[in-house]
Symmetry: C2
Subunit: 132 residues, 2 copies
């Protein structure tokens, strides 16, 4: 999908809503924010990230890193070809993204218990057998 530059939209609210999905796709991605968080203390190598992020496959780490690099969230630097040595580091924009998501993560920690309660109550209401 490439943007049709020849059509300068009036920029309606629905446009804004659609466009925010670009960012929500990043944030909502299963691994993206985890990678960003693990880079907050500085550059990390591929294998470091792989070991630090529990459960991620090599393929998904590669895909996630490429995507974040393409979006300008982090940089990929090749230090040596033999043996290979690649490090990833947050860009300025990546750092501000992490800051922008901080309130959300705080909210998560603060409300996780209530979500669990709500889920349990809902499942009890709709039928114990319907519990996921």
């Amino acid at each position: 999908m490439d943007a049709a530059q020849s059509e300068p939209r009036p920029a309606t609210q629905s446009d804004d809503a659609c466009r925010t999905r670009v960012v929500l796709d990043i944030v909502g991605d299963k691994w993206s924010l985890l990678v960003v968080r693990h880079l907050r203390e500085g550059p990390r190598r591929f294998t470091e990230l792989k070991k630090a992020i529990d459960g991620i496959s090599q393929r998904m780490l590669t895909v996630t890193l490429r995507s974040l690099e393409r979006d300008g969230i982090l940089t990929r630097t090749v230090h040596g070809v033999m043996p290979p040595h690649v490090s990833y580091e947050l860009t300025e924009m990546g750092i501000t993204l992490r800051e922008a998501t901080a309130p959300l993560l705080e909210w998560s920690v603060a409300h996780l218990a209530r979500i669990d309660e709500a889920r349990a109550a809902y499942d009890a209401r709709t039928g114990p057998s319907a519990a996921s």
Copy 2:
């Protein structure tokens, strides 16, 4: 009804990381935040939401609303059975969730252009034909 939860987890760091995914799954969902935003000015009916949220299918609206209801983000109220009249409204928790996501949405609007630039530059670098 008091829940006698007698199993307090040790709550390690990896637990925290895993647990935040519960919320990230909500935020990252294709439609959830859109629904939440459209409820910010008060209760809305099913059909109102369907018309307001462009591109959502009836099925996905139902699924999304059920999920958000189960998580305690919104309430579902049946006002009449014939003809059917159902309204959805944010809970207090839903309102705070919307507030917690506000910084992220502001960040989105502020950085969308730079993301577009980064993507274009990346695609130009890696080969124009490789553009996703």
